[in-house]
Subunit: 413 residues, 2 copies
């Protein structure tokens, strides 16, 4: 039995101009897939009535079911509701319940609604307004002879909350019993084509699962997908498939699912009852930020020193001035001194240091932009390693954070 | 004279499943708009021949010009090239020049090409292979009776480099003399609908410029766009429009363009020859990470202490244990003590501290999740302020970073 097929239409001139990254589309893809709904196409159009109308009409003609995001706000560039109401033949009517909700929300924040907020209480006749406690524009569920259109605001928090609380429960009523299920094996430190060569003919043996390679700044994810199968079968198939991939990529496979490498390292440290501290130069705090993005990190992570200026490396991490002068801040010697200093300062069983040249300036022939030295300290043993990362300043810093975590992962296994 | 109209087709099952965020689309939107090319629609489809063929054929029928991303890699789920070559009637031929480039690239990294890499040297007959020094899959420029298709790899670095070095120079040859130009005024601390009320009828007076409100976790950007105008006229129009918006939103407008608030604060500090240090608890290093993401921040930013554990607050920032016990770590008193400690530790003229409850756990009726206290120190004067932020753990932390920077911006004006 096939999944329910849906098309997404994301609306906003800014999406096409590229000033907004379409994170809503990614979120919708994930939650809809998990609910057994298959997104067969995504279309993005500008805030122009003709474009919006054409995109929604075409999506309905192909699939009979569309979800739109954007164009429901109080400002003038928001026109999706008017266009879709007209397309579906459902004229807009003032809805007193929605208006009261808008008024209540404004009262709660001690503000008065402005005239433009009144337009947010207009609901297409015969449609269902989906209450929005997280903003003023309600979502809409519109069943019509042309098909079903679900309209959601473009503000990510509001869109996510409406999906979770209003849309997914209603979609469940239309579910077909099958699902699309995926499982991911996350790797770091091996190139995509080398992975693909190692996997080789195994790909055929994985059928009916499909395999996708997802390279990113932090590594290559291997994603297996089971399409249109009963959920219980999917779980068994995926478990067996991931185990086969794991056997091939054991040295680089640090996690499954969307588990972050930082969470894995925290678990390793927790299991051995050791605390973690960091000393960062070129990453400027991003490593600590990544670690503490994991909820519950506080039982392992003590803290860190952001030693951006060399004086801070000397004063807070006891790196000798002579060492800095002799080898430069980006060197094995200084990385080792930084991590030893952090271990002493925080009294932690585990510590890591990062010092490098993130660019765009500061590179030399000997130490090009992207050169990063790491120091690792486990139970008093200090060692160092180096990498030369490519990409922009932001990418080099992100790769350096991942490199520091990967180094910890290897040493804590 | 109208701009050149183009459609984007981004290819990848992962885009629809939501496991990849389509950052390529945003990048292409920005660079193409700046080059006077108008993206009229963006379509995303799965790695399925029928879907790819339909999306490219429809885009060509509407616009005569399509750019695709994705599906050019060495793995089996990459099939875009085969489908488009067939659609355009340009059969694939082995290209020796491309193959030599693949071999050279592998030699440089000390690796041997695998069999699947040979498929990357197949080029549609009559098409132009765009050399890719940043990966193994060349881009393709395909002129056909159905229209022009430019095919780019999906790996962001390779796509960006091919656009810059190969595609944009060729597109310039087709440019029409007009351009789409935008200008942005960035605000923080004022809700979208309040901003819209203040702007009100001014929006009509801004014509022919169009105005868009772009709310995000860190504030609301106001974006003015001049469509299809001569570049010199656009600059004058946009300057006048931004000045009018600035007059209305002066208290919240911290920058223009894509300038980050961190860069503005660094400039303020630099202008007064003062150095900056940070003391972070709930943000765990993200504030230092945001500041050091600005290239050249090292002449202002000294560094910071990530005092995630209360022991670190005591030992590195001299926060008295009694103060922590009496008021809790998330309090005005501790924020003040943290920033005073950072000022003393780093000897900086300016410092900021952040301590809060990022959640999901740890909230109480008195101090709910999202409660954040900031401490500010300028030339020895210390003051504090508090906010309660909404959203996920990651959003609360991002808002806390922006709040710390906004507090500095206000105090340094």
């Amino acid at each position: 039995m096939p999944s329910l097929n849906i098309e997404l239409v994301t609306i906003g001139t800014e999406l096409l101009l590229g000033f907004t990254i379409d994170t809503n589309a990614a979120f919708l893809g994930q939650v809809l897939s998990a609910a057994g709904v298959r997104i067969v196409r995504r279309t993005s159009v500008a805030d122009e009535p003709g474009q919006i109308r054409a995109a929604v009409a075409e999506a309905l003609a192909r699939s009979g079911f569309a979800i739109t995001t954007g164009g429901l706000g109080p400002t003038r560039d928001d026109m999706s509701k008017h266009v879709v109401a007209e397309l579906l033949g459902m004229p807009l009517q003032f809805d007193d319940v929605v208006w009261q909700a808008v008024l209540t929300r404004y009262q709660r924040f001690g503000r008065r609604p402005v005239a433009s907020n009144r337009s947010q209480a207009m609901v297409p006749a015969g449609g269902v307004a989906l209450p929005n406690q997280w903003g003023t524009a309600p979502g809409l569920w519109l069943d019509s002879p042309l098909g079903t259109v679900i309209m959601l605001p473009g503000v990510p928090l509001e869109m996510r909350m409406l999906m979770e609380h209003e849309v997914l429960p209603r979609l469940a009523a239309r579910a077909t019993g099958t699902a699309i299920r995926s499982a991911t094996l996350r790797t770091c430190g091996i190139p995509e084509s080398t992975l693909a060569e190692r996997i080789g003919d195994l790909e055929d043996a994985l059928a009916p699962l499909t395999l996708a390679y997802l390279p990113s700044v932090t590594g290559v994810d291997l994603r297996l997908t089971a399409w249109d199968v009963v959920a219980a079968d999917a779980a068994t198939l995926l478990r067996a498939g991931i185990d086969r991939l794991r056997a091939i990529a054991a040295d680089w496979a640090y996690a499954e699912g969307d588990t972050d490498l930082a969470a894995v390292v925290l678990d390793q440290a927790r299991a051995s009852a050791r605390r973690l501290a960091v000393a960062e130069s070129c990453t400027g705090g991003l490593l600590g930020g990544r670690i503490t993005n994991v909820a519950g990190s506080s039982d392992v992570f003590l803290g860190g020193v952001v030693a951006y200026d060399d004086r801070v490396k000397q004063e807070l991490l006891e790196v000798p001035a002579a060492l800095l002068a002799a080898h430069g801040a980006v060197s094995a010697e200084v990385a080792a001194a930084m991590v030893a200093g952090a271990t002493a300062r925080f009294g932690s069983g585990i510590a890591v240091s990062v010092t490098g040249i993130a660019g765009p300036g500061g590179g030399t022939a000997e130490k090009p932009v992207g050169t990063v030295w790491f120091g690792f300290s486990c139970d008093g043993r200090v060692d160092t390693q180096t990498s030369v990362f490519g990409g922009t300043r932001a990418e080099i810093r992100e790769r350096a954070v991942q490199g520091a975590l990967m180094g910890l992962w290897q040493r804590l296994q």
